[in-house]
Symmetry: D2
Subunit: 367 residues, 4 copies
């Protein structure tokens, strides 16, 4: 199950410290222009090593297109993308090969397979998400060209800090994807103190997809929100997913939650753009909770491979808050769900034209 | 996409006011004893019409086994289950056939298919979940017999009321699945007032699966938590899913969140029994947010099929809080995910024996 | 794996002597008119009990539509079809419950599941194919309405008898689907003698799909011919599948086999309308070999459930040549493959318009 | 649909003249020893350029393992294999970029995608089958280690030449995989004359899998024979597939065809080791028809991209009989089907032990 999607299918492979990581995109519509350079922007947004607030590992993340593109356009055959790993330091992990780090996938992989690649977390490393971001570059481009869809996200909470204001223009101007520029120094101090302490912290990331047409999503088990949930939950460290108002809905009344309708637009967007598993034409909104990183310099009680009680101290290079770099990954998963549902929708409902009455996707402050 | 699961596959069919609802369970292990009577218990837990706090619709929910069982045991061929609908009142819905109810799937189905069955919500009705519960009776039985797994849930929040105490024994003793018996009168008064007001309210349901062995779940895209997320999000009205500490993880430090390990057991269960998408051997815990029902007697602004502005008032028979009956449905979805992952795990890793060191699944207060 | 197809998915259930057989069609395009009466024609073509040349079992094969159709049109939700079994004679099978019939699936089912339903062959009975034919009624109608596609077949060999002439108009005028009317008395005498002898015989059925547009089929593993092969091989008793010239290609030269091209049409159709797994716009042609029925009155050496050597004599009601009724089943499987590929094609390639130059699908004598 | 299999999933990518070809094997059982050197043997059996009877293209076919193997053993995570293309001569194809070769996939790809990579046939080239053979090296090894299964094939017909005798030991001793050593000079002369003539010829390849346990295969749509049919039909140039007696069954009587049973073994193997879609424990036998290559030096009538009538002459490097190299490819597809069914069988039926009575898989002359 290293394949994601039903019609636009992405299969990723590779370990953190193996020779390479890569993916195969199968089912991409033909005729889309794509060049190796186009992957750089989102890969850089996800990359470590750019500021002191993330892991010091520095990878070039240079994408080689191995197949599926001819004279600059997709041919409809599988697009294989390859990135060589260049900055492994496997010796950092020699001592943890026989230890289980609390809160990490070491123990569960070991119990499942009876073997694991301990170097840099092997397959369970966030390094794998590089290829999700790469694959989503193709998805985002098609969604934008065909439907004008824009998928973008931001950091909505860091530990207990929340934004004081919201401005999309601020988001890309700081290494945290934070929507309030004046708070950035506060975040930097917070992260500096955290890093010094040896501890880590959780985060929340929000994603908004604008211009999603109504009608996408397969009701019952292939619901748009159901697939967003698994897609987002599949990101390393994610422990919760919300659509629209999410858990706030628990304490709401029906009169508060239901989005009233007019021919000028919906009057609110508590639903997050999805009703009955199908998009409504409003912005699709999702929010995720990321747990604090488990790889800490602070010692923790654990066991080793022989069943001995031990104290684990993780040295290697790690992010004190994985949420900081999670924004492009969350966007990627949303984009991959959307393109897959778009193709599935036109497969089944390609005979249905534009249905009236259609409510415009008026922006009601999705954030 | 009315099929759920990869190896233990459940396909449901049927509309709220059609002649029947049913499901086909494909891939069930052979040799399991199952009788038509065994479905009654969980179906009654899910049924409406038992107390004044849920919809007044009264269905017998009598299950006919059409195939796949021979002399009381599953044969490995598809098990078809059929329930005839007996208490439809489609005339209640005559006026809403041309209206779109705010917060309901009317509009999104219409936009997707260009046609919809308006009687009782058609396919988008919670009536469909009856068959999920029925299918999960088979799953729960196999999981219990093979692994001693117990999947059970409870109502963890109703509007802004939360339990004052927790006792599994209380849960099945009241119509709300509430874990604190002394609060039941309070809940009844709350629901009476709510019903009288014509409004509805949201709820939170928690599910716990005990005795899940370590090693279940397919890392990356078929993660155990990822599949729980989509399974639970696919339940009508669900807007959020958490695994373990869920959104509380956002404000936690790594030293708080990581579950320390000893050969006597994990020392906590913030992870909800899943690390890297694979079960750890601890209790698997999940929590869901259910939005308040959208079908209200209180008028709401909307449009009709001709694009006219209207006020919608929903009369029919509806639940003022769908969360009340959601506990068996949530349990069902968790059980269906678990049996599917169990089969997938032994497919790939059937050659791997019990791996040492193995930590016992000590109970650390999963609730 | 009782589900067929990727987007137009048909799941069948039921045993030969169970209470009912049925299917669920998921992914059907919405808006297609369909009524219960429309299933009768093809089901009657497939039915036993109409002439002395097939099994004497007489089933009404009355279809009940349980879901997915509203006011006579498909809604896009799953269409469940149900047929009650009415003419079981399970007592006929009492003695074979503990015996393995040579050439039958008794032994292989027993080895797989450790349990089997012996009544009438249980799930392995050709009774199951009833629901394939029913599901294909929907597929054929959509293919005809959208593309003018006609899928039709005929008996191309019975034992060692082959047609002396070919006329589509003859095919539906005799119980054998034989394309040469003057040979029908010869076939009848042949079958009478065969039945009297207690033996059975094999057959060949050809299927032709006219008006399939170019471009359908997914190259490599989801090839149109590959999927036709598995679809046709999945029919009971089929031992071989050919596309176009099939095994005759072995002794051909390239200059003989390749279909020369002109803007007026292809000059021949050795390829059977498929190149590289993708339709060319010519008629799609396939041929299948059906083995002789294994259930014979003539005794055969075998074993029983206790490992004793026995002589098996099958009494029950059986077809001396299953190939006689196989024509509508083969058509059904071809139609199900085509609609699924049609939906998959427009999912991926919906942006590609009609591509020039396009060669007309000139008829070159597909038979 | 460039992925093959349900649980042991192989995704291939790459074009004939692209930078590389590769595959990702997902779902492989963990703990299997595998080294890059082990791929060489079967890849060399499939390779061109070794004798004058196949295409002159010479590829090193050096496999790089990019992931999924740690310290020489599979880890259960995806195994990515990469082979760089080293002997492309794309300029050979400059003139056919605007022409459609009769009998080739040029026209059908163009109609499907509106774009195609003409260099060496692009994705439709037999070069893609290299990765099938590579993936099957892993499958064959697991099948051999776990069950003693041996999958092997041979050329059973070349044009109208058939073997005069059968000896497995002869098969690997000549470049044709011919089972009768004394005929090899005859085949060489035949091929020399054919090559000189500029024409091509068809072939038949047989595959036998010994030691397949009873019980593998999913009845109805996931039948073992059904999946073999699509797997084998998916090989380039295949136009027909037979299981067991195949098309010979058409003229057989039931008393001839049915395989009588004894506790010492089946008395014959007309069924090809499969009944009701499930293996019986006998050798699984399949046979395929390969059409003559379409790329000929002899001119053929066709059209170009502008719709002009043209004469096509193919120069490039081509096989005059693709069947010669097809044996390892056919073996590969059979092995991939078997491992997938093996995993699926233990998923569903892992609780069923060895079922008695079990007939030994006595060899009855499968060839």
């Amino acid at each position: 199950m290293n394949t994601f999607g039903h019609l636009f299918r992405v299969t990723t492979f590779g370990e953190s410290h193996g020779p390479a990581i890569g993916c195969v995109i199968d089912g991409c519509p033909p005729g889309l222009e794509i060049a190796a350079e186009e992957f750089a922007h989102d890969l850089q947004r996800r990359a470590t090593g750019k500021t002191r607030h993330t892991s010091a590992r520095h990878e070039a993340d240079e994408v080689e297109i191995l197949s599926g593109v001819y004279e600059g356009r997709t041919t409809g055959t599988p697009i294989a993308l390859l990135i060589r790993n260049t900055d492994q330091r496997s010796k950092d992990y020699a001592n943890i090969a026989r230890q289980f780090r609390p809160g990490h996938a070491d123990y569960s992989y070991w119990q499942k397979y009876g073997i694991r690649d301990p170097r840099g977390g092997g397959r369970s490393s966030a390094r794998e998400t590089t290829m999700r971001v790469a694959a989503a570059v193709v998805a985002k481009k098609w969604l934008a060209e065909k439907f004008g869809i824009v998928v973008r996200g931001y950091l909505a909470q860091l530990g207990d800090i929340t934004p004081n204001a919201f401005d999309w223009n601020a988001v890309e101007g700081n290494p945290f994807f934070w929507p309030c520029a004046v708070q950035v120094p506060e975040l930097e101090s917070y992260m500096d103190a955290l890093r010094k302490s040896g501890d880590s912290v959780g985060a929340r990331v929000n994603v908004v997809a604008d211009n999603v047409p109504p009608g996408w999503g397969e009701p019952i088990y292939g619901k748009l929100d159901g697939e967003l949930a698994s897609a987002l939950m599949s990101i390393n460290a994610v422990k919760g997913v919300e659509i629209g108002d999410g858990f706030a809905s628990v304490a709401q009344k029906g009169t508060q939650h239901r989005d009233l309708m007019s021919m000028q637009g919906f009057l609110s967007n508590h639903a997050g753009g999805i009703l009955g598993g199908i998009s409504t034409g409003q912005a699709v909104t999702a929010s995720i909770a990321l747990k604090p990183t488990s790889s800490l310099r602070l010692p923790g009680q654990s066991i080793d491979i022989d069943g001995n009680a031990i104290e684990v101290v993780t040295t290697g290079r790690h992010d004190p808050c994985v949420g900081i770099r999670a924004t492009p990954i969350a966007e990627a998963m949303v984009a991959l769900v959307l393109i897959d549902q778009a193709l599935r929708h036109r497969a089944q409902c390609g005979d249905v034209g534009e249905v009236s009455p259609r409510i415009p996707g008026m922006d009601v402050g999705a954030t």
